[in-house]
């Protein structure tokens, strides 16, 4: 079979991929004809062809199980296998969300404990597990900020301050809450510029949201001053917890002055990313925001667990209670770690990033030359000067069998290359990556063409994105089935 084929190409009338039961009750009268469907254009594929088709597709993919995946800000750590096994227990998957609480006490207990553990790790007072992704958790945080100020009768606060290195989801989430955004500049060290904050932090500002450590992989030592300034002027301090991996067991968001923080269980707590989800984006809050948390929360009373809704809740954000299946894996991860082990995770994550930083510093421009946390941001501008863009460096890494770092983000670093090795990678793996990056720097100087045409040995070569945009081809149609 040729490689470029789609489901309709292996479809033949009369095939099916599974066996189905016969009707075991008398059939009833059909509804009026006008309600019925005339044509259903789905492919008809045999089980073996189907399995081979998707197996072949899977081989075109690169995952954490394939190799090193230093995608900055995404914390692509290894996902332990046994978490997948426990998450498949029928007692955890064959549960209907509307079963009586008495029949799902085990599930509620797991959620309750996870709420507690996450609050403990972040130094917060309560957790809602409802948000299903990081951006969903950000939305929850900002909706709470809005509700908090409204409940105090402070209606003028309609602005959210962000830093110029923030994730794109931060301003997008603010827009979904009908809030304006203001951008606080970074200073020469890559930290938040206090003077800029000082001048912007007025009575219209509802909150400052900070990624901690920042997307530059830097911890801002002025965090106490920032928190004090924001709170003195009536604002709240919100945390984007995408980079919690750097702080696990070291310090707590609550103690740093944050009023809320949104987490990503699919990053820090090792649940697989699934090619773009499912994730889970719990939001942890201090006492002042507990009443506003998205509903429902799990409470415990004398060993009995039940759902409850906070009195001033921002409301429901999803159909049910969040991504329970993801929570199970994060719970398994957390229960396999105590306080000491949590600390060792952040230590090795930070050690690995600094090791990569030191080894690559002679070869790539390092815009902020200081100790980094869990990730390091280089700039490809030395190479750019020779006509090699960061995208070329990334594509060339693919030829070395490695996944590239995050590129062109954060926006304040030109030609950014943001590397997050994570703690699950060995020294040998890092050395292999470092060697490839050094070799690519040499190629950039000596043979730039090989980079500009990279990748050379991937399943497909560089793809024409402009054509994809101009000539939209977003689906097959069954009419095209037999060419």
């Amino acid at each position: 079979m040729k490689r470029h084929y789609l489901l309709p190409d292996i479809s033949q009338a009369g095939r099916i991929g599974c066996s189905l039961p016969h009707l075991d009750v008398p059939s009833s009268e059909l509804p009026p004809e006008e309600l019925l469907r005339q044509e259903l254009g789905l492919p008809e594929v045999s089980e073996v062809d189907l399995v081979r088709y998707f197996t072949a597709l899977s081989k075109l993919n690169y995952g954490v199980d394939t190799g090193f995946y230093p995608l900055g800000s995404c914390t692509m750590k290894y996902n332990p296998k046994w978490h997948e096994d426990v998450a498949k227990l029928p007692g955890l998957t064959a549960l209907h969300p509307y079963q009586s609480e008495q029949s799902v006490q085990g599930a509620l207990q797991l959620m309750y404990r996870l709420q507690e553990y996450l609050a403990e790790i972040t130094g917060m007072n309560a957790t809602s597990l409802v948000p299903v992704a990081g951006a969903h958790g950000e939305l929850a945080g900002l909706l709470m900020v809005k509700a908090y100020h409204q409940a105090r009768g402070d209606k003028a606060r309609k602005k959210i301050l962000l830093t110029d290195s923030s994730h794109g989801t931060n301003p997008a989430s603010a827009a979904m809450c009908g809030l304006e955004t203001g951008v606080v500049a970074s200073d020469a060290r890559g930290d938040l510029d206090l003077k800029s904050l000082e001048s912007m932090m007025n009575e219209e500002v509802a909150a400052l949201t900070l990624t901690m450590p920042s997307t530059l992989g830097l911890f801002d030592p002025k965090i106490a001053e920032i928190s004090q300034l924001v709170h003195e002027r009536g604002g709240l301090l919100g945390g984007d917890g995408a980079n919690l991996n750097a702080l696990l067991g070291q310090t707590k968001f609550g103690e740093l002055g944050f009023d809320y923080v949104q987490l990503n269980l699919h990053k820090t707590f090792s649940t697989p990313h699934g090619g773009g989800g499912p994730g889970s984006g719990p939001v942890c809050v201090k006492e002042n925001l507990i009443d506003f948390l998205p509903t429902p929360l799990v409470t415990e009373d004398n060993g009995r667990y039940s759902f409850m809704s906070p009195p001033k809740s921002i409301g429901k954000m999803a159909d049910f209670y969040g991504n329970f299946g993801v929570m199970v894996k994060a719970y398994a991860y957390l229960r396999s770690l105590g306080p000491e082990e949590l600390k060792r995770i952040s230590e090795d994550a930070v050690l690995n990033a600094n090791y990569v930083k030191e080894k690559l510093k002679p070869h790539y421009f390092l815009p902020y030359d200081r100790t980094c946390m869990h990730e390091v941001v280089f700039s490809g501008k030395k190479q750019k000067a020779k006509g090699v863009a960061t995208v070329d460096i990334a594509k060339r890494l693919l030829d070395y069998g490695l996944h590239p770092p995050t590129v062109y983000f954060p926006l304040i670093v030109s030609e950014a290359l943001m590397t997050e090795p994570t703690e699950t990678e060995s020294k040998e793996t890092l050395d292999n990556y470092i060697a490839a990056m050094i070799e690519i720097a040499r190629e950039a100087a000596e043979n730039p063409e090989v980079l500009r045409n990279a990748p050379h040995n991937t399943p497909v070569r560089r793809l024409d994105e402009a054509r994809a945009f101009r000539q939209l081809d977003l689906r097959w149609e069954i009419d095209h089935q037999k060419k």
């Binding site: 290894y78 301003p171 979904m176 103690e255 990313h273 060792r344 995770i345």
Partner: protein, 452 residues
């Protein structure tokens, strides 16, 4: 709410302190060598930017368990739940028990799919990208709509994002929803609408006129109470005043019933969970989102397109990315980033496994079994079928006693009864029957109800 209940630390002698953690490959020799390269004497030093007074926080967490111990604990915890594999389940209302062929779990379980990130590097993500293209195609075929995105969080957030999109397309700020839409969907809509300061109006089914200042009409087909709305005239009225029409549909029903693309819908959304995804106590599920081609540039979420590579071979990329938050930031069509990609893959594999005949057959099994159950219950003394309209797999019965009491009795007989909706309809219960319910299950349900 503050954690008050803490687990007591185990008193037994702990030996794991001497064991390395499987997640951390570094030996002490590795760490020392790396610290030397960095030029610091301890890992501590790498954290010097964190002010001293915030360091060394105290953590009250239970001691760690090994894989063996934890598996046992989780098996016990799972066993304390009433797992529906051991019950006859007649509960639906947004999450459904359907048969899941083994192909689905095996394919989505391949770690090349499950451990990949969002496909930013297309050359090594063709597996994910091509399967999203398949998913988009299958969803278009199923719904009769022109374009689909790569999936959203769940049915309710798909509906909410559709409302936001309609406001942006029409440049209006008011959202109209029919009262027969699933109440939790309306709650989620309310949260999103309040967030964006958009008034939400609820219209009774069968209203005469449609408010001319609304951006959209949102209805559910079949509706929350299970029956099909007679909606076409009302869809016309909404279109007449320039509003977009958003249908919330049920994907299995489309194996048998008219797809939204056939009745002038602008945006179709659905909960994708019935398509090969376990109920999992409510998540992860999948939001289906499809619309007319003319609105594709206003769509939220990822979209994959087919193109060619430098050698002219076909390949796939994420496209129309200028709609997305990582490019457009505050002016993106949505804040969505990580979604439910693996669940969309499950839905694609499910639809391809069943195919044209299989999906129709499953839909017909649901239809006939639900009608068999409804007719039998309707004949019982004290029970009645509340709505005379055509329905698919869900229907409302009026019971002689409160449904909560009935459900207690059913549970003792290993039956999970329907949803208690007595707050909406006197002694009303919303029942759901699928292909996973055998005739025997249904007969026992009917017999038990009759014995009350």
């Amino acid at each position: 709410m503050r954690p008050k209940h803490r687990q007591k630390a185990h008193n037994r002698e702990r030996m794991t302190g001497t064991m390395p953690l499987p997640y951390l490959p570094h030996t002490e020799a590795d760490r020392s060598a790396m610290l030397r390269e960095i030029g610091v004497s301890s890992i501590e030093e790498l954290f010097h930017d964190i002010p001293e007074r915030f360091r060394n926080a105290e953590f009250s967490l239970p001691p760690p368990l090994s894989e063996l111990e934890l598996k046992k604990e989780l098996r016990q915890l799972a066993a304390s739940n009433s797992n529906l594999d051991d019950y006859a389940c007649f509960l639906g209302a947004g999450s459904y028990r359907h048969f899941i062929p083994s192909t689905v779990e095996h394919i989505i379980g391949r770690s090349e799919f499950s451990t990949a990130y969002t496909p930013y590097q297309a050359e090594v993500s063709q597996g994910t990208l091509q399967s999203v293209y398949e998913y988009q195609s299958l969803i278009c075929q199923l719904t009769g709509m022109e374009v689909s995105n790569a999936g959203m969080y769940d049915g309710s957030t798909s509906a909410a994002e559709a409302a936001m999109m309609a406001c942006s397309v029409t440049n209006r700020s008011k959202v109209a929803v029919l009262a027969t839409v699933n109440p939790t969907y309306r709650d989620v809509l309310d949260t999103y609408c309040r967030g964006k300061n958009l008034p939400l109006v609820t219209l009774e089914s069968g209203s005469e006129s449609f408010p001319s200042d609304c951006a959209c009409l949102i209805f559910q087909q079949p509706n929350f109470l299970g029956y099909f709305e007679q909606i076409e005239a009302y869809v016309q009225k909404a279109h007449d005043v320039g509003a977009l029409v958003i249908a919330i549909v049920e994907p299995i029903s489309l194996g048998m019933f008219r797809p939204p693309g056939d009745y002038e819908v602008d945006i179709a959304v659905a909960e994708g969970q019935p398509l090969g995804i376990p109920m999992s106590f409510g998540g992860p599920h999948l939001g289906i989102f499809a619309c007319r081609k003319e609105y594709v540039r206003r769509m939220p979420g990822r979209i994959v397109g087919r193109t060619v590579d430098a050698d002219g071979n076909p390949g796939y990329v994420m496209t129309l990315v200028t709609r997305e938050q990582y490019i457009r930031r505050g002016r993106a069509t949505s804040n969505i980033c990580t979604s439910e990609a693996l669940m969309a893959l499950a839905a694609a594999v499910y639809l391809a496994t069943l195919g044209k005949r299989g999906l129709k057959h499953v839909a017909e099994l649901c239809y006939h079994k639900a009608h068999y159950a409804a007719q039998a219950i309707d004949k019982l003394k004290g029970y009645s079928l509340v709505f005379p309209q055509p329905f698919f797999k869900e229907f409302v019965i009026r019971c002689p006693v409160p449904p909560s009491q009935i459900n207690q009795v059913l549970l003792k007989r290993k039956i999970i009864g329907g949803l208690d909706i007595s707050h909406l309809i006197d002694n009303g219960m919303l029942l759901c029957v699928t292909e996973a319910n055998t005739k025997r299950d249904i007969d026992i349900l009917v017999e038990t109800l009759g014995s009350l």
